[in-house]
Amino acid sequence: MNKIESNKGWLFVLPVFIVVAFSAVIPLMTVVNYSVQDVFDANTRFFTGTEWYRDMLNNPQLQGALIRQFIFSFTILAIEVPLGILVALMMPKKGWQASLALVLVSLPLLIPLNVVGTIWQVFTRTDIGLMGWGIRELGYAYNISRNSGDAWATIILMDVWHWTPLIALLCYSGLRAIPEAYYQAARIDQASRWAVFRFIQLPKLINVLVIGVLIRFMDSFMIYAEPFVLTGGGPGSSTTFLSQALTAMAIGQFDLGPAAAFSIIYFLIILAVSFVFYTTIMHMQKDKTTSKSGE
Protein backbone atom coordinates (compact mmCIF):
# COMPACT_ATOMS: atom_id res chain seq x y z
CA MET A 1 0.00 0.00 0.00
CA ASN A 2 1.46 3.32 -1.03
CA LYS A 3 0.59 5.79 1.66
CA ILE A 4 0.17 9.46 0.87
CA GLU A 5 2.66 11.63 2.66
CA SER A 6 0.53 14.33 4.20
CA ASN A 7 0.16 15.82 7.63
CA LYS A 8 -3.54 16.02 6.89
CA GLY A 9 -3.47 12.70 8.71
CA TRP A 10 -3.24 14.55 12.00
CA LEU A 11 -6.60 16.13 11.34
CA PHE A 12 -8.23 12.71 11.29
CA VAL A 13 -6.34 11.56 14.33
CA LEU A 14 -7.13 14.63 16.39
CA PRO A 15 -10.41 13.37 17.92
CA VAL A 16 -8.75 10.16 19.05
CA PHE A 17 -5.85 12.13 20.38
CA ILE A 18 -8.11 14.39 22.44
CA VAL A 19 -10.23 11.57 23.86
CA VAL A 20 -7.29 9.37 24.74
CA ALA A 21 -5.20 12.25 26.04
CA PHE A 22 -8.04 13.21 28.33
CA SER A 23 -8.46 9.72 29.72
CA ALA A 24 -4.80 8.70 29.69
CA VAL A 25 -2.42 11.61 29.94
CA ILE A 26 -4.00 13.49 32.82
CA PRO A 27 -4.44 10.41 35.03
CA LEU A 28 -0.98 9.19 34.15
CA MET A 29 0.52 12.53 35.13
CA THR A 30 -1.30 12.26 38.43
CA VAL A 31 0.21 8.86 39.01
CA VAL A 32 3.70 10.03 38.15
CA ASN A 33 3.21 13.03 40.39
CA TYR A 34 2.21 10.85 43.34
CA SER A 35 5.00 8.42 42.74
CA VAL A 36 7.65 10.98 43.57
CA GLN A 37 5.97 12.54 46.58
CA ASP A 38 4.97 11.67 50.08
CA VAL A 39 1.41 12.82 50.62
CA PHE A 40 0.19 13.38 54.16
CA ASP A 41 -2.90 15.36 53.36
CA ALA A 42 -4.13 17.71 50.67
CA ASN A 43 -1.69 20.45 51.65
CA THR A 44 1.31 18.66 53.04
CA ARG A 45 3.57 16.74 50.71
CA PHE A 46 7.28 16.16 50.29
CA PHE A 47 9.31 15.38 47.23
CA THR A 48 10.79 11.95 47.62
CA GLY A 49 12.46 11.34 44.26
CA THR A 50 13.00 7.68 43.48
CA GLU A 51 12.58 6.49 47.03
CA TRP A 52 9.20 4.86 46.46
CA TYR A 53 10.49 3.12 43.40
CA ARG A 54 13.39 1.61 45.31
CA ASP A 55 11.04 0.63 48.10
CA MET A 56 8.66 -1.03 45.72
CA LEU A 57 11.29 -2.93 43.80
CA ASN A 58 12.49 -4.37 47.09
CA ASN A 59 9.00 -5.01 48.38
CA PRO A 60 8.59 -8.78 48.84
CA GLN A 61 4.81 -8.52 48.33
CA LEU A 62 5.27 -6.91 44.96
CA GLN A 63 8.04 -9.29 44.00
CA GLY A 64 5.89 -12.26 44.94
CA ALA A 65 2.92 -10.92 43.01
CA LEU A 66 5.11 -10.23 39.99
CA ILE A 67 6.55 -13.75 39.92
CA ARG A 68 3.08 -15.26 40.33
CA GLN A 69 1.83 -12.97 37.59
CA PHE A 70 4.46 -14.16 35.12
CA ILE A 71 3.87 -17.82 35.99
CA PHE A 72 0.14 -17.32 35.60
CA SER A 73 0.32 -15.44 32.28
CA PHE A 74 2.70 -17.88 30.67
CA THR A 75 0.80 -20.92 31.95
CA ILE A 76 -2.52 -19.78 30.55
CA LEU A 77 -0.91 -18.81 27.23
CA ALA A 78 0.76 -22.21 27.01
CA ILE A 79 -2.63 -23.87 27.44
CA GLU A 80 -4.96 -21.47 25.64
CA VAL A 81 -3.00 -21.09 22.41
CA PRO A 82 -2.71 -24.80 21.47
CA LEU A 83 -6.19 -25.55 22.79
CA GLY A 84 -7.65 -22.59 20.87
CA ILE A 85 -6.02 -23.80 17.66
CA LEU A 86 -7.32 -27.31 18.25
CA VAL A 87 -10.86 -26.07 18.84
CA ALA A 88 -10.69 -23.91 15.71
CA LEU A 89 -9.59 -26.94 13.69
CA MET A 90 -12.47 -29.01 15.01
CA MET A 91 -15.18 -26.41 14.41
CA PRO A 92 -17.52 -27.13 11.47
CA LYS A 93 -16.99 -24.97 8.40
CA LYS A 94 -20.54 -24.32 7.34
CA GLY A 95 -24.19 -24.90 8.03
CA TRP A 96 -26.20 -24.46 11.18
CA GLN A 97 -23.65 -26.50 13.12
CA ALA A 98 -21.08 -23.79 12.40
CA SER A 99 -23.39 -21.01 13.63
CA LEU A 100 -24.27 -22.97 16.74
CA ALA A 101 -20.64 -23.74 17.53
CA LEU A 102 -19.71 -20.08 17.00
CA VAL A 103 -22.39 -18.80 19.35
CA LEU A 104 -21.58 -21.35 22.04
CA VAL A 105 -17.85 -20.80 21.81
CA SER A 106 -18.20 -17.01 22.02
CA LEU A 107 -20.49 -17.19 25.01
CA PRO A 108 -17.91 -17.05 27.84
CA LEU A 109 -16.24 -14.01 26.27
CA LEU A 110 -19.20 -11.73 26.90
CA ILE A 111 -19.77 -12.49 30.55
CA PRO A 112 -18.73 -9.73 32.98
CA LEU A 113 -15.47 -10.57 34.71
CA ASN A 114 -16.87 -10.78 38.21
CA VAL A 115 -19.79 -12.87 36.97
CA VAL A 116 -17.19 -15.26 35.56
CA GLY A 117 -15.70 -15.30 39.05
CA THR A 118 -19.16 -15.91 40.50
CA ILE A 119 -19.94 -18.71 38.06
CA TRP A 120 -16.76 -20.50 39.05
CA GLN A 121 -17.19 -19.76 42.70
CA VAL A 122 -20.58 -21.38 42.58
CA PHE A 123 -19.42 -24.19 40.32
CA THR A 124 -16.45 -25.16 42.47
CA ARG A 125 -18.01 -24.91 45.89
CA THR A 126 -17.98 -28.30 47.49
CA ASP A 127 -21.45 -27.93 48.97
CA ILE A 128 -23.51 -26.48 46.12
CA GLY A 129 -21.19 -26.60 43.09
CA LEU A 130 -21.23 -29.40 40.54
CA MET A 131 -17.46 -29.49 40.05
CA GLY A 132 -16.45 -29.06 43.68
CA TRP A 133 -18.96 -31.63 44.77
CA GLY A 134 -18.00 -33.98 41.94
CA ILE A 135 -14.30 -33.90 42.82
CA ARG A 136 -15.10 -34.55 46.47
CA GLU A 137 -17.27 -37.48 45.46
CA LEU A 138 -14.33 -38.89 43.50
CA GLY A 139 -12.42 -38.98 46.75
CA TYR A 140 -10.15 -35.96 46.49
CA ALA A 141 -10.32 -33.44 49.35
CA TYR A 142 -10.66 -30.48 47.00
CA ASN A 143 -10.48 -27.15 48.82
CA ILE A 144 -9.61 -23.87 47.15
CA SER A 145 -9.59 -21.82 50.32
CA ARG A 146 -7.06 -24.07 52.07
CA ASN A 147 -4.98 -25.69 49.36
CA SER A 148 -3.07 -23.22 47.19
CA GLY A 149 -2.51 -25.90 44.53
CA ASP A 150 -6.27 -26.34 44.19
CA ALA A 151 -6.71 -22.57 44.07
CA TRP A 152 -4.13 -22.21 41.31
CA ALA A 153 -5.52 -25.06 39.26
CA THR A 154 -9.02 -23.65 39.55
CA ILE A 155 -7.99 -20.12 38.56
CA ILE A 156 -6.11 -21.43 35.56
CA LEU A 157 -9.04 -23.63 34.58
CA MET A 158 -11.33 -20.62 34.89
CA ASP A 159 -9.11 -18.48 32.69
CA VAL A 160 -8.76 -21.24 30.10
CA TRP A 161 -12.54 -21.62 30.12
CA HIS A 162 -13.07 -17.89 29.76
CA TRP A 163 -10.44 -16.95 27.15
CA THR A 164 -9.62 -20.00 25.00
CA PRO A 165 -12.66 -19.03 22.91
CA LEU A 166 -10.94 -15.78 21.89
CA ILE A 167 -7.97 -17.66 20.46
CA ALA A 168 -10.32 -20.19 18.89
CA LEU A 169 -12.40 -17.52 17.14
CA LEU A 170 -9.35 -15.68 15.83
CA CYS A 171 -7.90 -18.94 14.49
CA TYR A 172 -11.24 -20.09 13.07
CA SER A 173 -11.43 -16.91 11.09
CA GLY A 174 -7.81 -17.25 10.00
CA LEU A 175 -8.49 -20.79 8.80
CA ARG A 176 -11.53 -19.73 6.79
CA ALA A 177 -9.31 -17.34 4.85
CA ILE A 178 -7.27 -20.20 3.34
CA PRO A 179 -8.35 -20.86 -0.26
CA GLU A 180 -9.67 -24.37 -0.96
CA ALA A 181 -7.01 -24.84 -3.66
CA TYR A 182 -4.32 -25.12 -0.97
CA TYR A 183 -6.04 -28.09 0.60
CA GLN A 184 -6.60 -29.65 -2.81
CA ALA A 185 -2.96 -29.23 -3.76
CA ALA A 186 -1.91 -30.78 -0.47
CA ARG A 187 -4.10 -33.82 -1.11
CA ILE A 188 -2.62 -34.22 -4.56
CA ASP A 189 0.85 -33.93 -3.03
CA GLN A 190 -0.14 -36.71 -0.60
CA ALA A 191 0.59 -34.50 2.38
CA SER A 192 -0.13 -35.94 5.81
CA ARG A 193 -2.63 -34.25 8.13
CA TRP A 194 0.31 -32.94 10.16
CA ALA A 195 2.03 -31.54 7.05
CA VAL A 196 -1.18 -29.74 6.05
CA PHE A 197 -1.29 -28.16 9.48
CA ARG A 198 2.40 -27.36 9.59
CA PHE A 199 2.83 -25.94 6.09
CA ILE A 200 -0.57 -24.57 5.14
CA GLN A 201 -2.64 -23.82 8.20
CA LEU A 202 -0.06 -22.70 10.72
CA PRO A 203 1.67 -20.15 8.46
CA LYS A 204 -1.72 -18.52 7.80
CA LEU A 205 -2.49 -18.48 11.52
CA ILE A 206 0.68 -16.77 12.66
CA ASN A 207 -0.66 -13.26 12.14
CA VAL A 208 -3.88 -13.79 14.06
CA LEU A 209 -2.04 -15.75 16.73
CA VAL A 210 0.30 -12.87 17.43
CA ILE A 211 -2.71 -10.61 17.92
CA GLY A 212 -4.38 -13.20 20.12
CA VAL A 213 -1.28 -13.75 22.22
CA LEU A 214 -0.75 -10.01 22.58
CA ILE A 215 -4.31 -9.34 23.74
CA ARG A 216 -4.25 -12.35 26.04
CA PHE A 217 -0.91 -11.44 27.51
CA MET A 218 -1.99 -7.86 28.26
CA ASP A 219 -5.34 -8.86 29.70
CA SER A 220 -4.03 -11.73 31.77
CA PHE A 221 -1.40 -9.41 33.19
CA MET A 222 -4.17 -7.12 34.39
CA ILE A 223 -6.42 -9.86 35.75
CA TYR A 224 -8.31 -8.67 38.78
CA ALA A 225 -11.99 -9.38 39.21
CA GLU A 226 -12.05 -13.10 38.50
CA PRO A 227 -9.53 -14.33 41.11
CA PHE A 228 -10.77 -11.65 43.47
CA VAL A 229 -14.24 -13.14 43.46
CA LEU A 230 -13.14 -16.77 43.27
CA THR A 231 -10.31 -16.96 45.81
CA GLY A 232 -9.92 -13.43 47.12
CA GLY A 233 -6.22 -13.82 46.35
CA GLY A 234 -5.82 -16.66 48.80
CA PRO A 235 -5.16 -18.92 50.46
CA GLY A 236 -2.72 -16.48 52.03
CA SER A 237 -1.47 -14.47 49.08
CA SER A 238 -0.88 -17.49 46.87
CA THR A 239 -3.21 -16.27 44.11
CA THR A 240 -2.72 -12.53 44.59
CA PHE A 241 -1.65 -11.06 41.28
CA LEU A 242 -0.36 -7.59 40.49
CA SER A 243 -3.66 -5.75 40.08
CA GLN A 244 -5.00 -7.04 43.33
CA ALA A 245 -1.78 -6.27 45.19
CA LEU A 246 -1.93 -2.77 43.78
CA THR A 247 -5.55 -2.05 44.65
CA ALA A 248 -5.01 -3.47 48.09
CA MET A 249 -2.19 -1.00 48.58
CA ALA A 250 -3.86 2.03 46.96
CA ILE A 251 -7.40 1.72 48.25
CA GLY A 252 -7.04 -0.52 51.23
CA GLN A 253 -4.00 1.02 52.89
CA PHE A 254 -4.28 4.37 51.11
CA ASP A 255 -0.53 4.47 50.51
CA LEU A 256 -0.69 6.70 47.48
CA GLY A 257 3.02 7.27 46.95
CA PRO A 258 4.18 3.67 46.94
CA ALA A 259 1.04 2.58 45.07
CA ALA A 260 1.77 5.12 42.35
CA ALA A 261 5.37 3.95 42.05
CA PHE A 262 4.04 0.38 41.91
CA SER A 263 1.66 1.44 39.12
CA ILE A 264 4.42 2.92 37.04
CA ILE A 265 6.63 -0.15 37.42
CA TYR A 266 3.66 -2.37 36.59
CA PHE A 267 2.83 -0.38 33.51
CA LEU A 268 6.43 -0.37 32.32
CA ILE A 269 6.68 -4.15 32.57
CA ILE A 270 3.60 -4.65 30.40
CA LEU A 271 4.88 -2.03 28.02
CA ALA A 272 8.26 -3.71 27.69
CA VAL A 273 6.86 -7.18 27.01
CA SER A 274 4.18 -5.87 24.67
CA PHE A 275 6.76 -3.85 22.79
CA VAL A 276 8.56 -7.04 21.89
CA PHE A 277 5.32 -8.47 20.52
CA TYR A 278 4.47 -5.24 18.72
CA THR A 279 7.79 -5.07 16.90
CA THR A 280 7.32 -8.69 15.92
CA ILE A 281 3.95 -7.89 14.34
CA MET A 282 5.33 -4.89 12.48
CA HIS A 283 8.20 -6.99 11.27
CA MET A 284 5.87 -9.66 9.96
CA GLN A 285 3.64 -7.16 8.23
CA LYS A 286 6.68 -5.74 6.51
CA ASP A 287 7.48 -9.24 5.29
CA LYS A 288 3.97 -9.56 4.03
CA THR A 289 4.02 -6.33 2.05
CA THR A 290 7.31 -7.14 0.38
CA SER A 291 5.93 -10.45 -0.80
CA LYS A 292 2.81 -8.66 -2.03
CA SER A 293 4.76 -6.17 -4.09
CA GLY A 294 6.64 -9.11 -5.56
CA GLU A 295 3.48 -10.57 -7.00
Binding site: M1, V16, T118
Partner: protein, 295 residues
Protein backbone atom coordinates in the same frame (compact mmCIF):
# COMPACT_ATOMS: atom_id res chain seq x y z
CA UNK B 1 -9.82 -63.16 -0.70
CA UNK B 2 -8.78 -66.56 -2.03
CA UNK B 3 -12.00 -66.74 -3.97
CA UNK B 4 -11.42 -63.51 -5.73
CA UNK B 5 -7.80 -64.31 -6.65
CA UNK B 6 -9.13 -67.24 -8.57
CA UNK B 7 -10.99 -64.94 -10.94
CA UNK B 8 -8.02 -63.04 -12.29
CA UNK B 9 -9.33 -59.69 -13.30
CA UNK B 10 -11.50 -59.03 -10.30
CA UNK B 11 -8.52 -59.38 -8.01
CA UNK B 12 -7.76 -55.70 -8.11
CA UNK B 13 -11.32 -54.60 -7.68
CA UNK B 14 -11.98 -56.07 -4.25
CA UNK B 15 -8.61 -54.78 -3.18
CA UNK B 16 -9.42 -51.26 -4.17
CA UNK B 17 -12.89 -51.67 -2.70
CA UNK B 18 -11.34 -52.73 0.53
CA UNK B 19 -8.96 -49.83 0.71
CA UNK B 20 -11.80 -47.56 -0.30
CA UNK B 21 -13.82 -48.89 2.57
CA UNK B 22 -10.88 -48.43 4.88
CA UNK B 23 -10.49 -44.97 3.50
CA UNK B 24 -14.12 -44.08 4.03
CA UNK B 25 -13.86 -45.50 7.50
CA UNK B 26 -10.74 -43.47 8.18
CA UNK B 27 -12.39 -40.32 6.90
CA UNK B 28 -15.45 -40.95 9.02
CA UNK B 29 -13.28 -41.71 11.99
CA UNK B 30 -11.35 -38.47 11.77
CA UNK B 31 -14.54 -36.47 11.28
CA UNK B 32 -16.03 -38.35 14.19
CA UNK B 33 -12.99 -37.62 16.36
CA UNK B 34 -13.38 -33.94 15.57
CA UNK B 35 -17.07 -34.04 16.34
CA UNK B 36 -16.57 -35.88 19.59
CA UNK B 37 -13.72 -33.57 20.58
CA UNK B 38 -15.74 -30.48 19.86
CA UNK B 39 -18.83 -31.82 21.58
CA UNK B 40 -16.86 -32.62 24.72
CA UNK B 41 -15.30 -29.16 24.65
CA UNK B 42 -18.66 -27.46 24.19
CA UNK B 43 -20.21 -29.47 27.00
CA UNK B 44 -17.39 -28.49 29.35
CA UNK B 45 -17.83 -24.91 28.18
CA UNK B 46 -21.55 -24.86 28.83
CA UNK B 47 -21.54 -26.81 32.08
CA UNK B 48 -20.59 -23.94 34.44
CA UNK B 49 -23.11 -21.67 32.73
CA UNK B 50 -25.72 -24.39 32.91
CA UNK B 51 -25.08 -24.72 36.60
CA UNK B 52 -25.69 -21.02 37.10
CA UNK B 53 -28.91 -21.13 35.06
CA UNK B 54 -30.00 -24.22 36.96
CA UNK B 55 -29.43 -22.46 40.27
CA UNK B 56 -31.25 -19.33 39.20
CA UNK B 57 -34.50 -21.29 38.97
CA UNK B 58 -34.13 -22.84 42.40
CA UNK B 59 -35.06 -21.69 45.84
CA UNK B 60 -32.29 -21.21 48.35
CA UNK B 61 -33.50 -24.20 50.34
CA UNK B 62 -33.07 -26.42 47.34
CA UNK B 63 -29.66 -24.95 46.47
CA UNK B 64 -28.35 -25.54 49.96
CA UNK B 65 -29.96 -28.95 50.19
CA UNK B 66 -28.99 -31.93 48.07
CA UNK B 67 -27.36 -31.40 44.66
CA UNK B 68 -29.96 -31.53 41.86
CA UNK B 69 -29.37 -31.38 38.14
CA UNK B 70 -32.76 -29.84 37.45
CA UNK B 71 -34.71 -27.46 39.66
CA UNK B 72 -37.12 -29.72 41.58
CA UNK B 73 -39.04 -26.76 42.86
CA UNK B 74 -38.96 -24.55 39.77
CA UNK B 75 -39.28 -20.89 40.65
CA UNK B 76 -39.12 -17.55 38.88
CA UNK B 77 -39.02 -15.67 42.16
CA UNK B 78 -35.36 -14.70 41.77
CA UNK B 79 -35.96 -13.13 38.38
CA UNK B 80 -39.13 -11.51 39.55
CA UNK B 81 -37.30 -9.84 42.39
CA UNK B 82 -34.68 -8.38 40.06
CA UNK B 83 -37.06 -7.28 37.34
CA UNK B 84 -39.47 -5.54 39.69
CA UNK B 85 -36.96 -3.75 41.88
CA UNK B 86 -35.59 -0.54 40.27
CA UNK B 87 -32.46 -0.64 42.41
CA UNK B 88 -31.72 -3.97 40.67
CA UNK B 89 -32.81 -3.45 37.11
CA UNK B 90 -31.38 0.06 36.94
CA UNK B 91 -28.02 -1.64 37.18
CA UNK B 92 -28.65 -3.28 33.81
CA UNK B 93 -29.85 -0.02 32.32
CA UNK B 94 -26.76 1.76 33.68
CA UNK B 95 -24.41 -0.84 32.29
CA UNK B 96 -26.03 -0.82 28.88
CA UNK B 97 -26.09 2.96 28.80
CA UNK B 98 -22.40 3.46 29.37
CA UNK B 99 -21.50 0.54 27.08
CA UNK B 100 -23.58 2.06 24.26
CA UNK B 101 -22.03 5.48 24.88
CA UNK B 102 -18.57 4.00 24.87
CA UNK B 103 -19.18 2.10 21.63
CA UNK B 104 -20.50 5.24 19.92
CA UNK B 105 -17.64 7.46 21.04
CA UNK B 106 -14.99 4.87 20.28
CA UNK B 107 -16.28 4.16 16.77
CA UNK B 108 -16.81 7.84 15.93
CA UNK B 109 -13.28 8.86 16.82
CA UNK B 110 -11.57 5.64 15.74
CA UNK B 111 -12.97 5.49 12.19
CA UNK B 112 -11.27 8.65 10.90
CA UNK B 113 -8.12 7.90 12.86
CA UNK B 114 -7.85 4.37 11.48
CA UNK B 115 -8.40 5.80 8.02
CA UNK B 116 -5.52 8.23 8.56
CA UNK B 117 -3.22 5.48 9.78
CA UNK B 118 -4.05 3.26 6.81
CA UNK B 119 -3.81 5.99 4.13
CA UNK B 120 -1.47 8.76 5.23
CA UNK B 121 2.09 9.04 6.27
CA UNK B 122 2.45 11.91 8.71
CA UNK B 123 4.89 13.21 11.27
CA UNK B 124 4.96 10.92 14.28
CA UNK B 125 2.38 8.45 12.94
CA UNK B 126 4.19 5.35 14.16
CA UNK B 127 4.83 6.79 17.60
CA UNK B 128 1.25 7.90 17.92
CA UNK B 129 0.01 4.44 16.94
CA UNK B 130 2.21 2.78 19.50
CA UNK B 131 1.22 5.29 22.15
CA UNK B 132 -2.43 4.48 21.46
CA UNK B 133 -1.68 0.80 21.86
CA UNK B 134 0.09 1.37 25.17
CA UNK B 135 -3.25 2.50 26.54
CA UNK B 136 -4.68 -0.91 25.84
CA UNK B 137 -1.82 -2.19 27.98
CA UNK B 138 -2.58 0.10 30.88
CA UNK B 139 -3.97 -1.91 33.78
CA UNK B 140 -7.29 -0.47 35.00
CA UNK B 141 -5.98 -0.90 38.53
CA UNK B 142 -3.31 1.70 37.76
CA UNK B 143 -5.85 4.19 36.54
CA UNK B 144 -8.68 3.60 38.99
CA UNK B 145 -7.61 6.11 41.58
CA UNK B 146 -6.46 8.93 39.27
CA UNK B 147 -9.69 8.51 37.30
CA UNK B 148 -11.67 8.80 40.50
CA UNK B 149 -9.92 12.04 41.36
CA UNK B 150 -10.15 13.43 37.84
CA UNK B 151 -13.86 12.80 37.40
CA UNK B 152 -14.67 13.94 40.92
CA UNK B 153 -12.89 17.23 40.32
CA UNK B 154 -14.83 17.98 37.14
CA UNK B 155 -18.13 16.83 38.58
CA UNK B 156 -18.58 13.74 36.43
CA UNK B 157 -18.31 11.20 39.22
CA UNK B 158 -21.20 8.73 39.24
CA UNK B 159 -22.30 9.53 35.67
CA UNK B 160 -22.53 7.19 32.70
CA UNK B 161 -20.30 9.35 30.58
CA UNK B 162 -17.50 9.06 33.14
CA UNK B 163 -17.42 5.27 32.78
CA UNK B 164 -17.80 5.52 29.01
CA UNK B 165 -14.85 7.89 28.77
CA UNK B 166 -12.75 5.81 31.13
CA UNK B 167 -13.37 2.72 29.00
CA UNK B 168 -12.24 4.72 25.97
CA UNK B 169 -8.77 4.39 27.43
CA UNK B 170 -8.46 0.82 26.17
CA UNK B 171 -11.34 0.62 23.69
CA UNK B 172 -10.34 3.48 21.41
CA UNK B 173 -6.89 1.99 21.03
CA UNK B 174 -8.38 -1.40 20.24
CA UNK B 175 -10.87 0.05 17.74
CA UNK B 176 -8.17 1.97 15.87
CA UNK B 177 -6.02 -1.12 15.77
CA UNK B 178 -8.71 -3.47 14.44
CA UNK B 179 -10.16 -0.98 11.95
CA UNK B 180 -6.74 -0.09 10.61
CA UNK B 181 -6.21 -3.74 9.71
CA UNK B 182 -9.45 -3.85 7.71
CA UNK B 183 -8.91 -0.50 6.02
CA UNK B 184 -5.43 -1.47 4.87
CA UNK B 185 -7.10 -4.34 3.05
CA UNK B 186 -9.18 -1.94 0.93
CA UNK B 187 -7.22 -0.93 -2.17
CA UNK B 188 -6.35 2.76 -2.28
CA UNK B 189 -7.59 2.85 -5.89
CA UNK B 190 -11.12 2.89 -4.51
CA UNK B 191 -10.47 6.24 -2.83
CA UNK B 192 -8.88 7.63 -5.96
CA UNK B 193 -11.73 6.51 -8.21
CA UNK B 194 -14.25 8.10 -5.86
CA UNK B 195 -12.40 11.44 -5.94
CA UNK B 196 -12.24 11.31 -9.72
CA UNK B 197 -15.98 10.66 -9.74
CA UNK B 198 -16.32 13.91 -7.83
CA UNK B 199 -17.17 12.67 -4.37
CA UNK B 200 -16.59 15.00 -1.45
CA UNK B 201 -14.50 13.28 1.22
CA UNK B 202 -17.16 12.76 3.87
CA UNK B 203 -19.70 11.71 1.31
CA UNK B 204 -17.28 9.11 0.00
CA UNK B 205 -16.29 8.02 3.48
CA UNK B 206 -19.84 7.44 4.66
CA UNK B 207 -21.47 6.19 1.46
CA UNK B 208 -18.71 4.07 -0.05
CA UNK B 209 -15.97 3.39 2.42
CA UNK B 210 -17.92 2.46 5.55
CA UNK B 211 -20.07 -0.14 3.72
CA UNK B 212 -16.89 -1.71 2.37
CA UNK B 213 -15.57 -2.45 5.82
CA UNK B 214 -18.90 -3.53 7.30
CA UNK B 215 -17.48 -6.78 8.65
CA UNK B 216 -14.66 -4.87 10.25
CA UNK B 217 -17.05 -2.51 11.97
CA UNK B 218 -19.19 -5.44 13.11
CA UNK B 219 -16.21 -7.16 14.66
CA UNK B 220 -14.92 -3.94 16.20
CA UNK B 221 -18.33 -3.35 17.75
CA UNK B 222 -18.20 -6.88 19.15
CA UNK B 223 -14.86 -6.25 20.83
CA UNK B 224 -15.89 -2.80 22.10
CA UNK B 225 -19.02 -4.25 23.63
CA UNK B 226 -17.10 -7.14 25.10
CA UNK B 227 -14.36 -5.19 26.83
CA UNK B 228 -16.67 -2.45 28.11
CA UNK B 229 -19.41 -4.84 29.25
CA UNK B 230 -17.17 -7.18 31.18
CA UNK B 231 -15.01 -4.52 32.87
CA UNK B 232 -15.62 -4.13 36.59
CA UNK B 233 -12.86 -2.24 38.32
CA UNK B 234 -13.22 1.18 36.66
CA UNK B 235 -16.98 0.99 36.40
CA UNK B 236 -17.25 0.29 40.09
CA UNK B 237 -14.73 2.93 41.15
CA UNK B 238 -16.31 5.72 39.13
CA UNK B 239 -19.90 5.21 40.23
CA UNK B 240 -21.87 5.25 43.45
CA UNK B 241 -25.63 4.98 42.97
CA UNK B 242 -26.86 6.83 39.88
CA UNK B 243 -24.74 5.04 37.34
CA UNK B 244 -23.80 1.92 39.25
CA UNK B 245 -23.34 -1.09 36.95
CA UNK B 246 -25.07 -4.38 37.58
CA UNK B 247 -21.77 -6.05 38.33
CA UNK B 248 -21.35 -3.85 41.40
CA UNK B 249 -24.96 -4.21 42.48
CA UNK B 250 -24.62 -7.98 42.47
CA UNK B 251 -22.40 -7.83 45.55
CA UNK B 252 -25.53 -6.89 47.52
CA UNK B 253 -26.61 -10.51 47.49
CA UNK B 254 -24.16 -11.13 50.31
CA UNK B 255 -26.12 -10.11 53.39
CA UNK B 256 -25.98 -10.75 57.10
CA UNK B 257 -27.76 -14.05 56.70
CA UNK B 258 -25.28 -15.35 54.14
CA UNK B 259 -25.38 -15.20 50.36
CA UNK B 260 -28.69 -15.25 48.51
CA UNK B 261 -27.48 -17.79 45.94
CA UNK B 262 -30.61 -17.94 43.84
CA UNK B 263 -30.72 -14.19 43.43
CA UNK B 264 -27.00 -14.01 42.64
CA UNK B 265 -27.40 -16.70 39.98
CA UNK B 266 -30.40 -14.97 38.39
CA UNK B 267 -28.54 -11.66 38.31
CA UNK B 268 -25.58 -13.41 36.71
CA UNK B 269 -27.73 -15.08 34.07
CA UNK B 270 -29.24 -11.73 33.17
CA UNK B 271 -25.76 -10.30 32.52
CA UNK B 272 -25.13 -13.04 29.95
CA UNK B 273 -28.23 -12.36 27.85
CA UNK B 274 -27.10 -9.08 26.18
CA UNK B 275 -23.92 -10.87 25.14
CA UNK B 276 -25.93 -13.60 23.40
CA UNK B 277 -27.83 -10.90 21.52
CA UNK B 278 -24.58 -9.30 20.36
CA UNK B 279 -23.13 -12.62 19.20
CA UNK B 280 -26.31 -13.31 17.27
CA UNK B 281 -25.95 -10.02 15.39
CA UNK B 282 -22.30 -10.45 14.46
CA UNK B 283 -22.29 -14.22 13.84
CA UNK B 284 -22.09 -13.80 10.07
CA UNK B 285 -19.10 -11.51 10.30
CA UNK B 286 -17.21 -13.82 12.61
CA UNK B 287 -15.83 -16.19 10.00
CA UNK B 288 -14.58 -13.38 7.79
CA UNK B 289 -13.97 -10.60 10.24
CA UNK B 290 -12.34 -12.15 13.25
CA UNK B 291 -9.03 -12.47 11.47
CA UNK B 292 -9.11 -8.69 11.89
CA UNK B 293 -8.14 -8.16 8.28
CA UNK B 294 -4.75 -9.71 8.92
CA UNK B 295 -4.60 -12.92 6.98
Amino acid sequence: MTQSTATGQTVSTPKSRQSALANARYKKESALKSNIGLTVYLILLILPIYWLVNMSFKTNQEILGALTFFPADFTLANYKQILTDPSWYNGYINSMTYVAMNMTISLLVALPAAYAFSRYKFVGDKHLFFWLLTNKMAPPAVFALPFFQLYSSIGLFDTHIAVALAHCLFNVALAVWILEGFMSGVPIEIDETAYIDGYKFWNFFIKIYIPLIRSGIGVTAFFLFMFSWIELLLARTLTATNAQPIQAIMTRTAGASGIDWGLLAAAGVLTILPGILVIYFVRNHVAKGFALGRT
